[in-house]
Amino acid sequence: MINDILTAVIPVVIIGIICGAVLVIASKLMAVKEDERFPKIRECLPGANCGACGFAGCDGYAKALCENPGTATNLCVPGADAVSKQLSEIMGVEFEDVIEQVAVVHCAGDCNKTQDKYEYSGIPSCSAAKLLYGGKGSCIFGCLGLGDCVNACPQNAITVVDGVARVDPKECIGCGICTKTCPQKIISLVADVEKVVVTCSNKDKGAVTRKVCTNGCIGCKKCERVCPLGAIKVVDNCAVIDYDKCTDCPDFGVCAKNCTTGCIMLSDLSGMHRFKEEVKA
């Protein structure tokens, strides 16, 4: 009886030990050297794999940091200053400030301000709707409101309100996935310290714009004239703010006040990172 059990147990144990030994030896002999900083760096990164740093996911960024000594440590926008600080400690380089960014939709043509030119009942996707006469809205530059960005956003920071996508800056991590997803290319990343945004992307002449949307920029250049810093330029019939120049405005809010159609708006972009810092303080 006991012999039967032993004859079964012993071979299995021996095979097990042999397998274990072979694996141990193999893993020692053929170990591939991994940079010891890699797991540390990888731990610091948020792991959202958003690609805001310009590398293929967090692993890609960590690898680049290990292999190319020159890689900047302040590329992780979602991680912001906290991650940048940790990374610079691990890499032994000077800490660099991260410019926290927030996505902004350059369209405010909601259903009160603009009308549909036809009823769309196809696939509920902006890129599909765009193929049909440039979308259902009468403005072919504006937000299609079918939520491609909503689906793409890893943080669920975007909602479609009254037919226009709205980004919640408190939720937005600034990864920029929506800017690439939007078929109209009307979402851009703006530093979260900015207070003024242009909420129109229409590049038609003023009269045409006016007809399709009451919020549209008609390119009257009034903002160009009132801006004390010369930071606003009308390019292709649509106002564009140069945020490099738009700093410490002596007459803050003058552009928004004077905008004929109200498409330049004051808005609070202080995003999650600043919000967190405030809560901490």
Partner: protein
Amino acid sequence: MTKFIVILLSAVFINNYVLSRFLGICPFLGVSKKLDSATGMSLAVIFVMLMATAATYPIQKFLLDPNGLGYLQTIVFILVIAALVQLVEIVLKRYIPSLHKSLGVYLPLITTNCAVLGVTILNIDEGYSFAEAMVNSLGSGLGFFLAMVMFSGVRSTIEGSDIPESFKGLPVTLTAAAITSLSFLGFSGVIENLFPM
């Protein structure tokens, strides 16, 4: 020679591991969403099936059978296959990093795949010689490959079609899998009549 062809073809078409024997359903449903991952998984399965047969067949013939330990087959095979796959992964990582990268996560996934264990055990049950067992493993792997690639095509069609809400996801996938496996029933009897013994 004919015997090898018969074994190979019947392993691919008639006794297809996924569609007729219903082994390895887990990767069949899990990894068949995209063609490239389906191909990667299948290549890894072919590779591991061959390695596993080459390792387990001698163990059965020279260790278990002479000592009357045939009943330990399952547990020993699992042990050996698991260790083997890990070893293969270590070796590949060291010497062929490109292959390691393309097989990637699929290699460890196969460690406990029932199709691999099934092939090795059925090879013994059918009483194949070593060469026949290897051909059978190759055929089984190819059959798995065929099923995966076919089904990833089916699934990409499903993705794009209008499916009732309650049918979306797994239900329609399982139904499609059932129909695909039914279609393979059409092969039964073909080989016997092609190569009358």
